[in-house]
């Protein structure tokens, strides 16, 4: 008889698990795997329909690449502040944790503000969901991503609120890590979307 399989322990003192990942983290990874297919299907749809609009306005008529680049930069920087939040709580520095959480949420908020501005500008220039195929694919893909960022902001603000009420002790640093996984995922997806939607002519 062989010895029983090694049971790894969650470093944060939760239940032991077979994989060594906590249940929460493993589930987040599974969820993100599912999200990959969700965005994969949407991005494929966009690529398939690229350049097939029979009427305008077309991408080159409406895009303001420098503006979107700036807001994309903010979203990417928010990944950095997210990393800093996690590092802060792992050190037990709760003041910095709240600072970086707020910074991350604000950068995400700026990105969303930029997206709202962009959407309204496009709309004023005559591009709506129903105008043409480009409008349908553009608004649904980027809007879907925007909803994900917004939910992420809600998650970050909830963590911030918990921390303010003292309910996010250092032992629960993994909650920040898991929210961070989601946040980084949404950022990475934006890199793909930005490339596919804006940069590839």
């Amino acid at each position: 008889m062989t010895a029983p399989a090694a049971i790894a322990h969650d470093p944060h003192g939760g239940h032991p698990t077979n994989t060594g990942l906590s249940n929460e983290k493993l589930t987040m990874w599974a969820f993100l795997g599912s999200e990959c297919l969700l965005f994969g299907a949407l991005i494929s749809t966009y690529l398939l329909y690229k350049g097939r609009s029979v009427s305008g306005p077309l991408p080159e008529d409406v895009y303001d690449i420098p503006f979107t680049s700036a807001s994309s930069f903010m979203l990417l920087m928010s990944s950095l502040t997210m990393v800093l939040s996690l590092a802060a709580i792992q050190r037990g520095d709760h003041r910095r944790l709240r600072l970086w959480l707020l910074a991350t949420a604000s950068l995400g908020g700026l990105f969303i503000t930029g997206q709202i501005y962009e959407f309204t500008t496009f709309y004023r220039e005559g591009l709506s969901l129903s105008t043409n195929l480009f409008g349908s694919t553009f608004f649904v893909l980027t809007g879907f991503h925007g909803v994900h960022v917004s939910l992420g902001i809600l998650m970050l603000l909830s963590l911030f609120g918990l921390s303010m009420r003292g309910k996010l002790p250092t032992e629960r640093a993994e909650a920040v890590e898991i929210a961070g996984l989601y946040w980084h995922f949404v950022d990475i997806v934006w890199i793909v979307i930005f490339t596919v939607v804006y940069l590839i002519p």
Partner: protein, 702 residues
């Protein structure tokens, strides 16, 4: 809580004040009895039963729809249904049987059995599990409410555009279908993530992946398929929703859109879905056959790897549903070859099952009959499936009754027979009494004859050119006889289902308590009493091999013959094996006492409340009352906040912690036994405080 009190910047007047603050909306349900008990339950076994009962109810509804279809087609130019109603009925029959019967029935088995089979006390996230169930129920509710709100969906279960576009289907039926499937999709995705985590993370000591029962393996594959396939149909439904409700152009050819995209997205989901439906049944049959052949499963690793191979290859064959669309010779050839290949791992499994029975001492009890029926019917369905891979042949078959015959052989003769084998096999474990074997055999033979009479003639009907989804056919077609036979067969199946229900009722009335291990079985769920106690295992088992329970009961002599260990020896041998591993365990657990305490989570209102937000959103969207949708979103979000702030184990139980253990034990009903059970020598690693808190938790539960 201690952390909170330690922090000077937080206002917490008293522990009880703190507790009230944590429950701004709802009081924690205390009772596990009665209706509230069922509505707030987070016990995986009760949720499994809820799934099973709901799925069976939908099986009856979907069956009635099937009988309506067959009644209409019994004679040429049938007049039972008008064409519009006929469209609704066959659409709802397909949608119901796939999304509301086979999927949730598989979920019922997975929920009930996975934790028992891997030696866990519950799934990874019990409240999330409850959320999955209630989300499924509310999704089904949205779908079925269409019958009372202007007509059910009528676009077929695959909802091809442009037939389902707003131009050709202006009513709300398709909208109900979209939102119903989106909501049940959420249920399945959440459930899949939960069960994957459960299987990967919560196995008992020694339960390595390659010692898991095959049913657990197949469930793991199915849940990965669900996790990755459902987002694709979610997006397809999303795009259709935008097209129908907000004037988007995804499937509008006039604007450059392409209806074939819908077919691709649908079948990229749809083909893995086929394996989602069949693999759980394959898992059940792989459990039943060894028990009733009194032999280990022939080629366990091969069965497991075939299942995994099916899981991967299932992603590369979707376009064989679309050979008639005109994909071009390269795509058609590639998908033809892939489709032929996927028959290989499936065929391998069939040989494994036959090999398991070969040379075994077969006991032809009802579960075994259904399992053998599964193999035979599934083989026929599988073979007619391979004929679709030959594209020219497929052109002849597409949209005829031949296809209907094929997938009913796979999904009824396959999946449903497998699930019925599961009903008869696990009934004593779930309900504590056996189903009558005599009535069970009647059930099997009636259903078997009815099934073949209903669906075998459809091969012929289809090859003679009768199309699917057409409400009437003319006399000149010359297919009255096989159509009538098929209708008679359908009603005989209904009789078989009736026999099953009579069996359930009669067996309950004359209930003879079932022993823990009525079938002389091989897996861990049979080590515990029937019905399974609320905490599953008094102590978490330690696993040494595949079919561990079997090896506790039997050994082999020098000539390889099976020798039953006398109970006393069995206990001693088990004790010995335990002590070996307990030493290793104790070492590993040094400094940790969390391993074996029973932290059973408490019931909660939030899962059902959160799930109730979804149909509100759906109705708001369907009727374009967006304020209603926003209210629904707030219900959902608010419930999640309540949920997140509510600890999974009610804090009142922590308070009981403060009582001296003896007092807690004395005041409980039967918790003394649990304390005793929890303090067996093998588990001495746990500290006494952890044990007593475990027992009081348990006491609060009961």
């Amino acid at each position: 809580m201690a952390t909170v009190l330690d922090r000077p910047d937080v206002e917490t007047p008293s522990p009880s004040g703190e507790r009230r603050a944590a429950y701004p909306i709802l009081r924690r349900p205390r009772s596990t009895e009665g209706l509230t008990g069922w509505l707030t339950t987070i016990d995986h076994k009760r949720i499994g039963i809820l799934y099973g009962v709901s799925a069976f109810a939908f099986f009856l509804i979907g069956g009635i729809e099937a009988l309506l279809i067959r009644a209409q087609l019994a004679q040429p130019n049938g007049t039972v249904l008008d064409a519009g109603t006929y469209n609704q009925v066959f659409t709802m029959h397909g949608t119901t049987m796939i999304f509301l019967v086979v999927m949730p029935m598989s979920a019922a088995f997975m929920n009930y059995l996975l934790p028992l089979m891997i030696g866990a006390r519950d799934v990874a996230f019990p409240r999330l599990n409850a959320l999955s169930y209630w989300t499924f129920i509310f999704g089904a509710f949205v779908l079925y409410s269409s019958f009372f709100l202007g007509g059910a969906p009528d676009g077929g279960w695959f909802g091809y555009v442009p037939n389902t576009s707003i131009t050709f289907s202006p009513g709300h039926g398709i909208d109900f279908w979209i939102y119903g499937l989106l909501i049940t999709g959420i249920a399945s995705t959440v459930g899949a993530a939960n069960l994957i985590t459960t299987i990967l993370n919560m196995r008992a000591p020694g339960m390595t992946l390659m010692r898991m029962p095959v049913f657990v393996w197949m469930s793991l594959v199915v849940n990965f398929l669900l996790l990755f396939a459902l987002p694709v149909i979610t997006i397809a439904l999303f795009l259709l929703m935008f097209d129908r409700q907000f004037g988007a152009n995804f499937f509008n050819p006039a604007a450059g859109g392409d209806p074939v995209l819908w077919q691709h997205l649908f079948w990229i989901f749809g083909h893995p879905e086929v394996y989602i439906l069949i693999l759980p049944a394959m898992g059940i049959v792989s459990e039943v056959l060894p028990v009733f052949s009194r032999k280990p499963l022939f080629g366990y690793p091969v069965v497991v790897f075939s299942g995994i191979a099916i899981g991967f290859m299932g992603w590369g064959v979707w376009a064989h549903h679309m050979f008639a669309v005109g994909l071009g010779p390269v795509a058609v050839s590639a998908f033809s070859v892939a489709t032929m290949f996927i028959a290989v791992p499936t065929g391998v499994k069939i040989f494994n099952w036959v090999g398991t029975m070969m040379g075994g001492s077969l006991r032809l009890k009802t579960p075994m009959l259904f399992a053998i029926g599964f193999i035979a019917m599934f083989t026929i369905g599988g073979l007619s499936g391979v004929t679709h891979s030959i594209s020219p042949h497929d052109r002849q078959q597409t949209d005829t009754y031949y296809i209907v015959a094929h997938f009913h052989y796979v999904l009824f003769g396959g999946a449903m027979f497998g699930l019925f084998a599961g009903f008869y096999y696990w009934w004593p474990k779930v309900f504590g009494h056996m189903l009558s074997d005599k009535l069970g055999k009647v059930n099997f033979w009636v259903m078997f004859v009815g099934f073949n009479l209903a669906f075998a003639p459809m091969h012929w009907i289809g090859l003679q050119g009768m199309p699917r989804r057409i409400p009437v056919y003319s006399e000149e077609l010359g297919l009255q006889a096989p159509n009538l036979a098929s209708t008679i067969g359908a009603f005989i199946i209904a009789l078989g289902v009736l026999v099953f229900m009579v069996n359930v009722w009669v067996s309950k009335r004359n209930a003879v308590p079932a022993p823990a291990d009525p079938w002389d079985a091989r897996t861990l769920e049979w080590t515990i009493p029937s019905p399974a106690p609320v905490h599953n295992f008094d102590e978490i088992p330690v696993v040494h091999s595949v079919d561990d329970f079997w090896h506790r009961k039997y050994t082999e002599d020098e000539e390889g013959r099976l020798v039953k260990l006398p109970p006393a020896t069995a206990v001693a041998a088990e004790q010995e094996r335990h002590e070996e591993s307990a030493a290793a365990e104790a070492q590993e657990h040094a400094g940790h006492d969390e391993g074996h305490g029973m932290h059973l989570p408490s019931p909660s209102f939030y899962p059902i409340l959160a799930a109730a937000g979804l149909p509100i959103i759906a109705y708001g969207m369907i009727y374009k009352q967006y304020i209603v949708a926003v209210v629904g979103a707030f219900v959902l979000l608010g419930s999640f906040y309540g949920w997140a702030l509510e600890p999974s184990v009610a804090p009142d139980d922590d308070e009981a912690d403060l009582q001296p253990p003896a007092l807690a034990g004395a005041s409980g009903n039967g918790s003394a036994a649990l304390v005793g059970a929890a303090e067996t020598p093998a588990l001495g690693a746990g500290s006494s405080t952890a044990e007593s808190s475990a027992s009081t938790t348990e006491e609060e539960q009961s």
